[in-house]
Amino acid sequence: MKKLIRNKKGVDSFTFLLTIFAILVLGFILVGLTMKYNKLNNTIGEAGSSASSILSAYASADRALLYLDNAVGMSMQSSIYDLAYNGFYLGGAPSKCGLNNNYQRWSEGLPDVDSSEIGLRMCNPLIEKCIPASYDANFKSAFLGRLNGQVSAYNNGSEVNLSGDGYELQLGKTEVLCPDKSMGCGGRNEGPFQLVGKTDKPMNMSSRRVNYTIMPSFRENADVDLAGHFERVTGKAFGLIAALEANPSMSEADITKILADYNKAENDLEWKKENYATDCAPLCDTGESCQVCITCCSEDEGEGGTGGEGGDGTGGGDDGGGESKCSTVCVPGKTAQMYCDYNLALGVKIVADAYKLKGDKKGYVGFVAENGGTPEVKKYEYRFSFNWVELQPSTTCIPIGAGPTCG
């Protein structure tokens, strides 16, 4: 150290200052770089962490979308089943033709009740038709109800929330919704019936570094050709009603033959008569006026009179001993005609050999659901009924209000 101090050569002051200056500058650069690195590290993270976060967000979305796709498929199954069960109407909302033992009526004879003065249906040989013109609205309503139930169950306790609302639904034959299957819109197995749900309501997932937004739209196919079956079943139903209108006295055997012909023509649908009932006792109001008369007889010493009734006011009397005085009492009435009321319930199942059980001749398409915790196999079946009447020749006169009385 002493040697250093005794060194008279000394240090160039410029060099010395330059050195100090350089050390300071480099120090600032180092601090600056370190701060920048720390900021970068805190923002983006360590190597690969951003990509990992993005992939994790994607996997989160995939979990929710997988659930949604399966919920849509399940809701479609149940909705198609319900719609078929209720003759393409919604359960609890029958057609204006009413129900016949839980079978939706697609036709009704003598629909008019209110205009009769004698409380009967008006005799009218024409059949009121209640075959649904379309199934879209009812299907959408049933489907969204079921989907919302599944979505609510999923959202309960999930960090990612699905929404069952805000979907614009398109449904129909796959070949119509997706005419060019090379675009990848054919759906799973190119099933015959397709449902497309589009939504503008985004699904958001956010983590520490990533905000991920997707639109949870869906496209699902069903293995039941609901659109095609609707056309075929309702088409044949119209034909059947026309035949009943032309020949209301068609026998049960005739109807069975018609259904057998339907089954021969179509291999994948099986028409079956579930119930056939006839009632030939009721009366209907022809609207024609008549009179209900009785004859009242009285005697000085004898019994009271007896009377008879008729459609045109004739009557008779009986002698009770002594002279009797008889008179006819009439009240206005309406002519009532007897008719036969027919009810025919039909079921149309979807045939598929893959579902055939041992010992059965045929298999029918279905799925398994639950009923109170017990598995229930539900076979798709389009159920509906027809009602028509056949007027009979015998008539009678029914008084409007109270009948005629003596005295």
């Binding site: 060194n7 996997a59 398994v368 639950e370």
Partner: protein, 226 residues
């Protein structure tokens, strides 16, 4: 001018000092770009991410399994027959029981994919046979054949066939996750060691849902390189 013998002066010291400072700054600059300790940090992070990446792989694989269509009866039954021969030591299912169940309940597999099949089995959860059915169908669908060649094997020079079946388990109800032993249905053996795990929830008709777990070994080829 004569030059005196060089002495170790202050300027020399400062020169050495400056040199050392530059050297130090150079080393700092290099460490920022990933040399030295930064490399260990990066490797450590990658090791941490290996687990997450394995989970993501498992997640994608499970999604693919769910979308797999169950084959028609003949092909499915053949698969079950073949699988029973493959997993001679590890097959717990009773083939006869499985076929009896499938014969009487075609609605669980006809025109269904794997997710729908699992869902349909859920409806029959009171029936003990579904454990065998789940195991058999899972193995029939997803078993893979591995090839190994070892001169020490009995058939030296010939390829030995090994089979691998994925480990898939199901627990009723919607869960975040579940451990081995608490599942209701399982096919395969639980993974020991490093592996990827994925969980997926599926809807059920009773709205209670179910959870499916898939495990697979973390493959070395899947590791990202630093």
């Amino acid at each position: 001018m004569t030059r005196k013998k060089a002495q170790f002066g202050l300027d020399t010291l400062i020169s050495y000092f400056v040199f050392a400072v530059f050297l130090l700054f150079t080393i700092f600059a290099l460490s920022l770009s990933g040399c030295g300790s930064a490399k260990h940090k990066a490797e450590g992070k990658i090791n941490l991410d290996k687990g997450r990446i394995a989970d993501l792989r498992a997640s994608e694989q499970l999604s693919a399994y769910f979308a797999t269509e169950i084959p028609v009866k003949e092909a499915l039954y053949k698969g079950i027959d073949d699988t029973e021969d493959m997993f001679k030591l590890g097959t717990d299912f009773n083939k006869k029981t499985v076929k009896e169940f499938l014969d009487t309940h075609p609605e669980v597999y006809v025109d269904r994919n794997y997710a729908e099949f699992v869902n349909a089995l859920y409806a029959y959860r009171a029936d003990e046979r579904i454990k065998d059915v789940f195991d058999a169908v899972t193995k029939a669908l997803f078993h893979r054949q591995l090839y190994s060649k070892s001169a020490r094997d009995l058939n030296s020079g010939r390829l030995d066939k090994l089979y691998y079946s994925p480990t898939i388990s199901v627990m009723y109800g919607r869960q975040i996750g579940f451990y081995f032993g608490s599942e209701n249905l399982i096919s395969g053996n639980p993974i020991s060691g490093a592996g990827g795990v994925a969980f997926r929830q599926l809807p059920t008709h009773d709205l209670k849902g179910l959870t499916v777990k898939f495990e697979e070994y973390a493959d070395a080829s899947a590791e990202p390189l630093p």
